[in-house]
């Protein structure tokens, strides 16, 4: 159970890391209007990743 959960979590961490890299890159390489929009969706992606990790690791009854 934990091996699967760790593997899934590592993949989510990679996705979060890519979104963070995109966040940094877009601020330096895109015009402000596109950068703000890109950072908004990348931020939502990061939040979704954190929510996924929380769902995976939340203690469950049974």
């Amino acid at each position: 159970m934990n091996i699967i959960r760790i593997a899934m979590s590592l993949f989510v961490v990679v996705l979060i890391a890519v979104s963070v890299a995109g966040w940094i890159w877009t601020g330096a390489n895109q015009p402000p209007s596109q950068s703000v929009a890109a950072r908004t969706v990348l931020g939502v992606g990061i939040v979704a990743g954190i929510a996924g990790l929380a769902a995976l690791w939340r203690p469950r009854a049974g």
Binding site: M1, I4, R5, M8, F11, V12, V14, L15, V18, S19, A21, G22, I24, W25, T26, Q30, S33, Q34, A37, A38, T40, V41, L42, V44, G45, A48, G49, A51, G52, A55, L56, R60, A61, G62
Partner: protein, 186 residues
């Protein structure tokens, strides 16, 4: 009586169907992750960053039909495999992924329509989806793929390790059943 295809892939064949579906999804992810690596880390220009297969076969990236085809496969897979998620938690997370993928598919449908009609929305120089009016395409795809994949993955985790109160599923996906081979046929 012969079972229908849908009944089989949501029953005894649910596990293998999900595995095949996941291979497709992860292969697609690999291409997107390579593409973002090329842009964010290697500093390649966006038009040149085409993943791995896209470098060998540029048409894979430029062809809207391929992108639409993948969106359609994702939507069909999420829809067809949903009945196999019989417990409350796994069904809920899988349905969230299906709902998001439905909108993602609509976006690709708009792109495909513009490509086929030769007329782009809002007189843009290239086919444009609604969200693409504001968000650059690479980041938008990364976003859509992320928010579809995460609930899908959580659903599969709950499906593989169902809570104690969940009833007996018709498939063989739950890991505790593998340790009890008689449990499936009982």
């Amino acid at each position: 009586m012969a079972k229908t295809f849908l009944a089989r892939i949501n029953g005894p064949r649910h596990e293998i169907a999900l595995q095949i579906f996941m291979v497709i999804v992860l292969a697609h992810w690999a291409e997107h992750l390579f593409q973002t690596f090329q842009i964010y880390v290697l500093g390649w220009a966006v038009p040149q960053a085409r993943g791995v297969l896209g470098l060998l076969f540029p048409v894979l990236v430029s062809s809207e039909i391929l992108h639409y085809g993948y969106a359609l496969v994702m939507l069909a897979g999420l829809w067809m495999l949903r009945p196999g998620f019989t417990a409350r938690l796994d069904r809920r997370w899988w349905t969230v992924a299906l709902g998001i993928q439905f909108f993602h598919h609509v976006e690709h449908f708009l792109l495909q329509g513009q490509y086929l009609l030769g007329q782009n929305l809002f007189d843009r120089p290239v086919p444009t989806s609604l969200a693409q009016l504001w968000v650059p395409r690479v980041e938008l795809h990364l976003f859509y793929n992320t928010i579809v994949f995460i609930p899908m993955m959580v659903a599969m985790y709950f499906h593989m390790f169902p809570p104690a109160e969940a009833g007996r599923p018709a498939c063989t996906c739950a890991w505790h059943q593998r340790r009890l081979p008689h449990a499936v046929s009982a």
